[in-house]
């Protein structure tokens, strides 16, 4: 195991144990080792002993913020929907947070999904998480039976022998284009802040934007053709917490349920729009996609637009309202119709 991640694993275990032993938190949300190489499993430790199972490595791709609302709720005394909300202090949860996850927690606070006072956030500056699919592709589909990571390389073993890959080469796209690897909201920071800062965060998007509209349409259809509508992307997303997702709604039925281009593309494009101004590019949607679809290119395009149009980035500051909950006269309205807004009227 990599030195850095080994250290962090130890530190996480130590702090989680301490938090659980002292009773400061009732549960600690992290990862345990997976059953296959290059996997981890989101894990809730409830005792100091269980905390010893916590791990930290390059394969922690699931966004822990996604679990927070339900976990917090599970620690509340049971009540029927018609009972008043509980008063008084409620049990707390310890949680690990990288840059993007902490920004998701900020969004969750802004959207009333989690209560800041019930969180103990252990900030972990991210070194970027590895994309299993990139490894698989690099090995032409050969099965990995063992994976070892060093700070800058991955050693992969299988029936064919052993291969060493540069770690950064197989880091997820969203991590490679990340501009905020450091947590923006935390109670304790477990490591020195990273100085990693992507130079061209939107290069993937710019490449698609450069296409003609026909090409883009082709790309769009092609890129999402293999979708099986398992909704892993949606369910792994901490922003997707609607009790009834629009795809599941039948009054009205917004989207057909078939596996055909209009229905599949509608699902993806609408889901992306629902994340506009809220997405932190954590990449969970893309990481969990069993079909290897580059789901986050859609949300990333919207993040780019929102940064350009409104100068806003999601979840950077609890006190800054998300761009789509406010209106400022200075907001750009490039869609505004010229004929309706004669010059004198804009005041």
């Amino acid at each position: 195991m990599t030195v850095k991640h080994a250290e962090l694993t130890q530190e996480i275990q130590r702090q989680a144990k301490e938090l659980l032993a002292s009773g400061e938190v009732a549960a600690f949300l992290g990862f345990s080792a997976g059953s296959l190489p290059m996997t981890t499993r989101p894990f809730v430790a409830r005792t100091p002993q269980e905390a010893e199972r916590l791990v930290w490595n390059s394969f922690c791709t699931v966004n822990l913020a996604n679990y927070l609302p339900a976990l917090l709720k599970s620690l509340e005394p049971p009540r029927s929907p018609k009972d008043p909300p509980p008063t008084g202090p409620l049990p707390k949860v310890g949680v690990l947070a990288t840059g993007c996850w902490s920004r998701n927690i900020v969004v969750q606070i802004q959207e009333n999904q989690v209560d800041r006072s019930r969180l103990v956030i252990l900030g972990v500056p991210s070194r970027g998480m590895v994309d299993r699919k990139k490894v698989l592709a690099a090995l032409q589909g050969k099965e990995v039976l063992e994976a070892q990571e060093d700070d800058h390389s991955l050693r992969l073993k299988g029936k064919w022998g052993e291969t060493e890959l540069s770690r950064w080469a197989v880091v997820r796209d969203n991590c490679q284009s990340c501009r905020h690897p450091n947590p923006v909201l935390f109670d304790r920071l477990l490591d020195a802040a990273s100085e990693r800062q992507a130079q061209a965060p939107f290069s993937q998007i710019e490449a698609i934007e450069a296409m003609s509209s026909d090409e883009r349409w082709q790309w769009f259809q092609q890129a999402f053709a293999s979708c099986i509508r398992c909704y892993a992307c949606r369910n792994a997303c901490p922003l997707c917490y609607c009790s009834t997702c629009f795809v599941d709604d039948n009054r009205p039925q917004w989207v057909g349920k078939a596996l055909n281009a209009p229905d599949v593309l509608t699902f993806h494009i609408l889901r992306a729009f629902h994340c506009a101004g809220r997405c932190t590019d954590c990449g969970a949607c893309e990481s969990v996609c069993p079909m290897g679809i580059k789901v986050r290119l859609l949300t990333q395009k919207l993040s780019k637009d929102i940064l350009t149009l409104f100068g806003a980035e999601a979840g950077m500051d609890v006190s800054v309202p998300p761009p789509f909950t406010t209106y400022a006269p200075s907001d750009q309205n490039p869609f505004e119709c010229d004929t309706c807004s004669s010059k004198g009227k804009k005041e």
Binding site: N112, C242, P252, W254, T325
Partner: protein
């Protein structure tokens, strides 16, 4: 017994009279609205766009006219004149003569056949003689009442009976009645409002303009018609001579105004500068920017709210402003001798001299004369009949403290009858007059009004949709393009439709009556009308449903006129197809409509007035006099505000005495509770039921609130400081007023020591106004400064007084003061921002440095006193206050009215009103009028027991709500909050306006608008997309 009549006579059906009528009718009085012509609307209906918002005049006016026409408590008397008026306040007897229309208004369906067949072509006065109409005519397309009339002067039959009668033959409704006779109406009314409007100055009297001789010299009102889509060239802006689109247009300002020599009108007409700029701006838009627009002016008088910015934008857009009085307008080019005599080209040569006295000539395609305002002959006749004298300028004299009263008690004036004024000011006065009358007749409120009774509503919840579709021909408006019969037949095939009918005019009285019967007979439970716009007609049809015992929300309109036949005139087949699509969509949507309860909020009959200045006091007194309890909150210890520092009005009326009587009345009025040294802590609620907590701990429940928090003089600083505060010889206007008042006191004892001893006084205008950080004109300072200078001259005729100014803005009859000042030798020196006056001190001597704009030479004055005409600015706490009531402020910090033109004292927030300096700088009489206007607008609410709240409100589906709070953040009316138990969003239906912002913002689809649900919208969209059988 109460002898006071609860009815009111309003004379004049322009916007002013309409507004008075509406305010009074809504406040509990029955109104007779008398209009001389065949339809109400006045000059405003002839305008194209209105400044400073560039709103379409007809679009903003029409709803008011329709409301007026439909109002249960307004009786329109068109083609009518007052014959006589006798009696006293509270009890007048008026005789009205209604001239024959020769068309039975009850039968006329406005199909237009009479006009189509009428052979007699006459000039169209609605288009100011540009273009023609028939002797059978409709005054204008949106006329109210929408009934044709026959012009007796031109009608062939009426002049030679038996010779024509084409209209009678053509009329499908049998409405033509050549035997129509004048009718007399004897009305018993408690008060009379005169909204006599104005006419424009006739420039054919001014030879130099060429008007009347040169076809392409038009008046500004004629030009409005050339711009208007309903005008003679359908808005294509063609010049009269050759229908070419002009590329160079000149506007000549002050035609018939500020002109003692030729026009004998000394006053300024107040509105012409702005309308000329507006016309130039709009003309530029018409010409897609390819237009040279030049405005020749003397002073640019953009003294109203947001006018200065409009002016600046116009300058920036390339419109030329030339300070010059035009010498003459000539035909351009060489004259050609033809058989008919000399003929000239179409272009015009304008000769003018610039400020330096150099003569220029410039060629234009069109010359527009910015003609002034004056009372019409008929108005003068009426006034003389009522024995109300005019002043030397031809206007009805008025007191600044009671600007709408006349010499005859019970008879009130509003609008330009007393002084030239723009629409907002006229509308304000209209409301102000309504306030006066409402107070005068308050004992008879609701005594003579009618109420509409509706049958009980049928419960249709269990019924499958039975949809009735009414497709309208709209005369030829729709039917000339769309195949209406085909659309109707198509509608019959759609699911749920059980009845279809096509009508010539679905909105005509007989059709409406018929529709009620049809709904009952066919057991319809949903109705679609495919016709014009819901904006004007939805209320009518909804009322029809109510009359038939159906909930009014089981109704949809398909706009197959504005959105179809009007815009697809050249593609009738496609238009018919589109009409089918629109009808199909409306039917798909109406299927999902559910009955909605008529939400109402009980009215707490109490008012809160914030601000104890003149405006606040007048508003409070007006409310109190109209019979409603008022809480008056004043921040300071005493009442009076800025007026305590004012010496006299521009009409020479001293303020102090009036102020004292106002304070006395306010303090002692039984209906007024005064809270001085008090501010607001918080406010909740909405129209009808506000709850406000004051700093004195009192909690007030009130149905309405009036914000009259005033303004304040700007304290000169920075580059405009002019030693103010450092040098005691530098004073502001108000400080000199205080000296004048002190002087008055001294004068009582025989001597006037201070002011009269001054030898050289310099006034600097626009100190802090009309600059980037305060880009507005403070409106009052020119008049104030000149009046003050005249006072100084009065005290010491030998005093040398200099006015350093940018533009003198003595609008209306204030112009007389300016002329007097010049006559008395006061020196006016113009400066611009590049050449601001300087003030330095040489030892103890003050040195004013300026540039003489005529001689182009620097000038130094050593004054004894410098008076700074400093800006009026809004109070800083106005913004905070406005937030309490969810009102907005503009960039300069003035409170923002609901609509600059037609709702000048309302806020966008219902039940909250504004008046006085917090709205914009203004003189006393305007503040007073506005205060009264605000009061009557408030009374419109207070006079009701309940106010309607939106029925189509947002509703939360708690099962879908995820409590993200976006809706609550985004709701502009703070109608959404988190339910404390359910922990879900919850909508306060009485606050919700149904705007739908929450619906759009909710990702979870947990909020919908009633009868605008997603299922309905999707049904409509699906109907639009599927071209089923159409």
């Amino acid at each position: 017994m109460n002898n006071t009549k609860g009815s009111v006579l309003v004379i004049g059906g322009g916007i002013t009279g309409v507004q008075t009528a509406l305010d009074l009718a809504d406040s509990g009085f029955y109104v007779y609205l008398v209009e001389r012509t065949a339809a109400i609307g006045g000059v405003m209906s002839q305008l194209d766009k209105t400044f400073p918002t560039n709103d379409c005049s007809a679009c903003i006016l029409s709803p008011k006219l329709v409301e007026c026409g439909r109002h249960l408590n307004i009786q329109l008397l068109t083609l009518s004149e007052l014959v006589s008026l006798k009696g006293e306040p509270g009890n007048f007897r008026a005789v009205i003569r209604e001239n024959p229309r020769y068309v039975d208004a009850n039968k006329c369906i406005a199909c237009g056949m009479c006009a189509e067949k009428c052979p007699k072509v006459v000039p169209n006065e609605f288009n100011n003689g540009l273009g023609t109409r028939k002797a059978a005519y409709l005054k204008f397309p949106q006329a109210v009442p929408l009934k044709y009339a026959i012009d007796a002067k031109h009608c062939i039959w009426l002049n030679k009976p038996g010779r024509c009668g084409a209209c009678a033959k053509a009329c499908p409704a049998g409405a033509i009645n050549f035997d129509d006779k004048p009718k007399e109406h004897i009305l018993e009314v408690g008060a009379v409002a005169l909204a006599l409007g104005f006419e424009t100055y006739d420039p054919s009297l001014l030879d130099f303009t060429g008007y009347g001789r040169l076809k392409n010299v038009v008046t500004s009102l004629e030009f409005e018609r050339l711009l208007s889509p309903s005008g003679p060239c359908l808005g294509h802006m063609e010049r009269p001579s050759d229908h070419a689109i002009p590329k160079r247009i000149a506007w000549l300002q002050c035609v018939g105004s500020r002109d003692i020599n030729r026009a004998c009108n000394a006053y300024c007409s107040s509105v012409c500068c702005m309308y000329a700029i507006k016309q130039a701006v709009i003309a530029k838009e018409h010409a897609a920017g390819h237009l040279d627009a030049t405005i020749f002016y003397m002073d640019m008088r953009t003294h109203g709210k947001d006018f200065e910015k409009y002016y600046e934008r116009a300058k920036a857009s390339g419109i030329s402003f030339i300070r010059s009085r035009v010498h003459s307008v000539w035909p351009a080019g060489q004259a050609v001798h033809t058989q008919k005599g000399f003929e000239y080209g179409h272009d015009l040569l304008v000769r003018y001299s610039d400020e330096d006295g150099h003569l220029h000539e410039e060629t234009f395609d069109l010359v527009v004369l910015s003609v002034g305002m004056q009372l019409s002959a008929s108005a003068r006749g009426l006034l003389s009949k009522l024995d109300i004298p005019l002043n030397s300028h031809g206007f009805v004299p008025f007191s600044s403290f009671s600007p709408n009263s006349t010499s005859k008690p019970g008879i009130f004036i509003c609008g330009p009858v007393s002084d030239p004024k723009d629409i907002p000011q006229s509308v304000t006065e209209a409301s102000s007059v309504a306030a006066e009358i409402s107070a005068l007749l308050s004992s008879s409120r609701w005594q003579t009004t009618k109420t509409k009774e509706f049958p009980p509503e049928r419960d249709i919840t269990a019924e499958p949709p039975r949809i009735g579709v009414f497709v309208c021909h709209c005369g030829i408006n729709i039917a000339s393009v769309v195949n209406v019969k085909e659309v109707a037949e198509y509608a019959r095939t759609l699911p749920g439709v059980v009845f279809v009918q096509d009508n010539l005019f679905t909105c005509s009285q007989d059709t409406i009556v018929n529709m009620v019967a049809t709904i009952r007979r066919e057991g319809l439970n949903r109705v679609v009308v495919a016709s014009c716009t819901p904006r004007t007609h939805e209320p009518l049809f909804q009322e029809t449903l109510r009359e038939a015992g159906l909930n009014p929300y089981l109704f949809e309109m398909a706009n197959i006129r504005d959105q179809d036949s009007w815009v697809h005139q050249n593609e009738p087949e496609k238009a018919t197809q589109k009409a089918k699509d629109l009808v199909r969509m409306a039917i798909a949507k109406v299927r999902g409509d559910q009955p909605l309860s008529a939400n109402v909020v009980p009215v707490h009959k109490r008012a809160l007035v914030i601000g104890g200045g003149v405006t606040g006091m007048v508003a409070a007194l007006s409310l109190a006099d109209q019979g409603f309890p008022v809480d008056l909150v004043e921040k300071a210890e005493g009442l009076g505000g800025n007026a305590r520092r004012l010496y006299r009005t521009w009409q020479g009326e001293e303020v102090a005495e009036m102020l004292q009587s106002l304070i006395d009345r306010t303090t002692n009025h039984a209906n007024i509770t005064l809270h001085s040294s008090t501010t607001l802590e918080r406010t909740s609620g909405s129209v009808g039921r506000f709850k406000t907590t004051l700093s004195n701990g009192k909690e007030i429940e009130h149905g309405v609130a009036i914000l009259a928090v005033g303004g304040q003089p700007w304290r000169p600083s920075g580059e405009w400081q002019y030693l103010y505060g450092e040098e005691e010889r530098v004073k502001t206007l108000l400080e000199v007023d205080e000296l004048c008042m002190a002087d008055e006191n001294v004068k009582a004892t025989g001597r006037s020591p201070l002011l009269s001893q001054l030898n050289h006084v310099v006034f600097i205008h626009c100190v802090g106004s009309r600059i980037p950080e305060r880009p507005y004109c403070s409106r009052v300072c020119c008049t104030h400064a000149i009046d003050q200078a005249l006072k100084l001259k009065e005290l010491n005729p030998r005093m040398n007084i200099y006015m350093l100014y940018r533009d003198i803005r003595t609008y209306g009859q204030r112009e007389i003061l300016y002329q007097e000042a010049r006559a008395k030798g006061i020196v006016f020196i113009r400066y611009d921002l590049n050449n601001r006056p300087t003030l330095t001190k040489d030892g103890d001597t003050l040195c004013i440095g300026a540039m003489d704009h005529v001689l182009k030479r620097p000038l130094v004055i050593h004054p004894d006193m410098v008076v700074l005409a400093s800006a009026v600015e809004p109070r800083r706490d106005a913004g905070e206050l406005s937030k309490f009531f969810k009102c907005s402020i503009n960039a300069e910090g003035f409170l923002m009215e609901a609509h600059a033109k037609l709702r000048p004292v309302d806020f966008a927030t219902d039940g909250v009103f504004l008046a006085g300096l917090c709205h914009y700088p203004k003189p006393l009489e305007e503040s007073i009028a506005q205060a009264k206007a605000a009061a009557v607008r408030a009374v419109r609410v207070l006079a009701q027991d309940v106010v309607p709240a939106e029925s189509a409100v947002a509703v939360v589906n708690p099962a879908k709500c995820v409590t993200c709070g976006v809706c609550a953040k985004i709701c502009p009316y703070s109608a959404i909050s988190k339910d404390p138990v359910l922990q879900k969003a919850s909508v306060d239906a009485s606050l919700c306006k149904g705007c739908g912002a929450c619906v759009a913002s909710c990702r979870s689809d947990a909020i919908t608008l009633k009868n605008m649900g997603n299922e309905q919208i999707m049904a409509a969209i699906e109907a639009a997309m599927c071209n089923c059988g159409g």
